[in-house]
Subunit: 219 residues, 2 copies
Amino acid sequence: MSTAPPLSPTARSTVRRGAKRARTDRAELYAVLDAGLVGHLGVVLGDAPVVLPTGYGRDGDTLYLHGSTGAATLRAAAAGAPVCFTVTHLDGIVYARSAFHHSVNYRCAVVHGAARLVTDPGERLHGFEVLTEHLAPGSWSATRQPDRRELAATALLALDLAEASVKVRTGPPGDDEADLATPVWAGVLPLRTVVGTPESDPLLPEGVPVPERVLSRQV
Amino acid sequence: MSTAPPLSPTARSTVRRGAKRARTDRAELYAVLDAGLVGHLGVVLGDAPVVLPTGYGRDGDTLYLHGSTGAATLRAAAAGAPVCFTVTHLDGIVYARSAFHHSVNYRCAVVHGAARLVTDPGERLHGFEVLTEHLAPGSWSATRQPDRRELAATALLALDLAEASVKVRTGPPGDDEADLATPVWAGVLPLRTVVGTPESDPLLPEGVPVPERVLSRQV
């Protein structure tokens, strides 16, 4: 199955300068997954796809996903329906000399498979820790642990990374040779995600400082 | 159908401070779509979902998507299969006093429907202009227009926004009352996407300046 992201018309054409390629290297897959905070989970409900943003965390070759036990998508995935989980980073806008060679630089991981509903209490707690630490490193041990009611309301899914692929596009546009002399600017406008100043909860008791785990956070 | 993103266990629980809600306002739907560059297109292939990052542009209540005529997902969508197209913005990491109330602030638009393969040459050219201008404002008129070969290689899909919803989460964590006195920092670490310095294509002829449409670009 092709997982070429149909990001632009150039997805089909030959890329002049080796800018785009599918990669199967595990380290690169891990890097793309670990750098994201939210992926997009696709599940089939009836005969239609549903794609929703979903939090996750990775432990080795297992991706943990969680969600409300009341969500139809999670229930379908928990019942063993095939899923697709995609994590995309947008790294730049590619300006070309021709309209059609405009594109984006990106890194994208696509995972296919059937998720497993985690029921073992020990693995469930471990999975929730992985999820929490992925979203907010240092938070698991610094905050109140989940209680019985919270655990009951939340489904934990495990998705194996056996069937996963990575696509990366980097570098300048892939304009046609014939367009290279055109006096039109071409290049890349890089994009990145940055963190702002932490906003304390107005209900915070006085004197509770912003912890280092938040102050030093990069994404 | 619920489109509640299963972003965190709090998706099910009562949110203390009206932070999360589904919205149906058209202006808000447009705003979320217009602020994004890439969405995630879900299509069913066989009996399994496939979710891929996909460029888009909006014209009124029509979302234009494009891709290679060789991509299986695009072919399925062009044939009228139901699709789901989701655009998500991550606005912040929500740190709570309890592990389970950690969450994210986000804006998410979910569009369901069957796409229409655009075949009219005039609408096709218009759709490609919408797509190009969405990705790179000002680029359509500044760069070479698509030729016959490029047009032939690219499918243009139109997706009506009739069945679309928006979910937004903002504000501080929704911790339990019993946890509020805990001396653990809680609040939001805002996230935003910023543009870097334009990187000119090394093959650019000397003396071609970075145009204002790129220099002034915000995302």
